[in-house]
């Protein structure tokens, strides 16, 4: 009796899991699958073809700047990530370990900037980067994001967890602020730093509106806006090639996600609990 009940429950559980899996996976599977079909067949609405091939991938790589777009995104995201790790951790250090007048007021001011969406500030920011001559260059996608209030906030919470005895011991040892920062604080908070690294990299990788406004050539255009470019060009109805381009873009991030998931999950949870 109990066995039959638990068997029924298992079947129910697998059914739920299967339905959810289909909802999540269908757009992926269909996208990947059609990237192997000739566009002529796709546009007839066929989901099967006798001509499965990698032709769409070859076409995407040779006829479009997709690899260049990927490279651009990689450059911008890595630079942004490194800058945020450095500048956010330095600021967080100041807010935790340095004593100066107006420190808490300044911290709340920084915190308050989290309320201001970048999307609401694009008009003056566009004028600023134009007058700084940064338009259509990697710098325009990195400079405004060299630091982030969220990153400072998150790392400050992490640094606050460092026991005061550690700081006292460092003072006795005669460590300078730079030494304490580099040799003790950063290694101590490496999980939070890893979380910020992943977060800032992904945030930069997924930027869409700002690069769309500020880059005009394939030499600097990042991959999100590159895919937009491909769709709006003559390739618009070349579904096979567009799906292949999407696959080329999404496969690396999926791999990174799956490999890094273990670390990322523990980091996210740590961040969410605090």
């Amino acid at each position: 009796m109990i066995e039959a009940h638990s068997k029924r429950q298992k079947i129910l559980e697998y059914t739920v899991l299967l339905i959810l899996t289909i909802f999540i996976l269908i757009p992926f599977i269909l996208g990947f699958w059609t990237s192997f079909l000739p566009t002529a067949d796709i546009s007839k609405g066929a989901l099967w073809s006798s001509h499965l091939s990698l032709d769409n991938y070859v076409a995407a790589i040779t006829q479009t700047p997709i690899i260049r777009y990927l490279f651009n995104s990689l450059v911008v995201s890595i630079l942004t990530m490194l800058a945020q790790l450095l500048f956010c951790s330095m600021s967080a250090y100041a807010f935790v370990f340095l004593k100066f007048k107006g420190r808490d007021g300044l911290f709340y001011l920084v915190l308050a900037t989290m309320m201001l969406p970048f999307e609401a500030e694009v008009i003056p920011n566009f004028a600023t980067v134009r007058s700084l001559n940064l338009l259509n260059h990697y710098a325009v996608m990195v400079v405004p994001f060299l630091t982030s209030a969220f990153g400072i906030f998150m790392l400050r919470q992490a640094f606050l967890q460092i026991p005061t005895e550690v700081k006292e011991a460092a003072d006795v040892e005669g460590l300078s602020h730079w030494q304490f920062y580099a040799r003790v604080v950063l290694p101590y908070s490496r999980i939070s730093l890893l979380t910020l690294a992943a977060y800032s990299f992904l945030a930069s990788w997924n930027q869409y509106l700002w690069p769309m406004l500020t880059t005009f050539s394939d030499n600097f255009r990042p991959v999100q806006d590159g895919l937009r470019q491909l769709q709006s060009q003559e390739t618009f109805n070349n579904w096979g090639m567009i799906q292949a381009s999407a696959a080329i873009v999404v496969i690396p991030t999926l791999l990174v996600l799956f490999i890094g998931q273990h670390y990322f999950k523990s980091g996210l949870n740590e961040g969410a609990v605090k």
């Binding site: 697998y14 609405g45 600021s91 500030e121 008009i123 999100q224």
Partner: protein
């Protein structure tokens, strides 16, 4: 002569340092900290000042002006821009569409996120596989998601309408009929959100003490009762946290709209950020677009403030 002056000032600078090293270590700690604060904080504060504080003030300022097509303010009009927006039926329609979108996306993201997290916690074989799949959309960027769903929603070759025609259901022009276009955008956004939401909820579920469920099992309480009376209250801080984050992110939605509907059909998906982009960068009406930005910022500030309040509560309770 100049050389000498600098030499002298160098000596002057060295003097107190030498003195302090003779005295106790803690001497002058405040001055030392103050100097370090400039180096540690300087870069971040500079960037925030130029790209966050200044543009905020500038946007406020521009919102009170008419502007020329270069974005330079020309005529001071006071609150005229605000008045004309809040009485414009087209702007109010945008505002309404945004609220519909934000509420629908948030509710569906929460429900499906919880469902995924709960399902991934089933003690069945292969649950690791399901966990990996459920977090998968986190690796999908906005333009890839748009391509996947543009294909799904395509009226002639998309899967949804192919299924519809097999089942002799009416074929829907998903992206060219106002109500359906909004539905399509909501589905795509929720799908994109789920990877992240799932990970957060799944993490939260692991923190619920197992003995609570064991006690419930002994009492013979049903699964749904367990969910609503044990699980949900235990993870309610996370639920609040996720709902506010989702709300804020949805108010800022731009990419999917630009790629899938371009605000159409008939402005049915012309949400706030897309409108700012259109008015400023396509129509050259920077004053009006600044006013729209201020309104957007106020809405988001309110929700962010709520988020802080909730986070504060969590910290004190734990």
């Amino acid at each position: 002569m100049e050389q000498q002056v600098t030499n002298n000032s160098k000596k002057l600078k060295q003097l107190p340092q030498n003195l302090s090293s003779l005295k106790t270590v803690s001497y002058d700690v405040n001055a030392r900290d103050k100097l370090h604060a400039i180096w540690f904080l300087g870069p971040s504060l500079l960037v925030l000042a130029v790209f966050v504080f200044y543009p905020m003030l500038r946007t406020l300022y521009l919102s009170l002006f008419l502007t020329n097509n270069l974005g330079k303010p020309t005529v001071f009009v006071g609150l005229q821009n605000y008045w004309s927006l809040l009485t414009s039926s087209s702007y109010l329609a945008s505002l309404q569409a945004t609220f519909v979108y934000v509420i629908a996306v948030s509710i569906l993201t929460l429900i499906f996120g919880l469902l995924l997290a709960q399902a991934a916690s089933f003690k069945v074989k292969g649950s690791n596989f399901f966990r990996t799949v459920f977090s998968g959309t986190m690796g999908v960027s906005v333009s890839v998601a748009a391509i996947f769903w543009l294909f799904m929603f395509n009226p002639s070759i998309g899967l949804l309408d192919q299924i519809a025609s097999v089942l002799h259901l009416p074929v829907i022009n998903w992206l060219t009929q106002p109500g359906w276009a909004m539905t399509a955008i909501v589905i795509s956004t929720v799908w994109m959100n789920l990877g992240f939401t799932f990970l957060i909820f799944f993490g939260a579920l692991q923190t619920v003490p197992v003995n609570l469920y064991e006690a419930a099992q002994i009492e013979g309480v049903s699964k749904s009762y367990q969910f609503f009376h044990i699980t949900l209250p235990m993870i309610s801080p996370t639920v609040f946290f996720v709902s506010i984050i989702t709300l804020i992110e949805s108010f800022k939605s731009f990419g999917l709209i630009d790629l899938m509907t371009a605000g159409g059909p008939n402005n049915a998906t012309n949400l706030l950020v897309y409108r700012i982009y259109q008015d400023a960068f396509l129509n050259g009406n920077y004053g009006l677009a600044s006013t729209e930005s201020v309104i957007l910022a106020i809405i988001i500030a309110i929700f962010t403030f709520l988020q802080f309040k909730i986070l504060e509560k969590r910290v004190t309770y734990q």
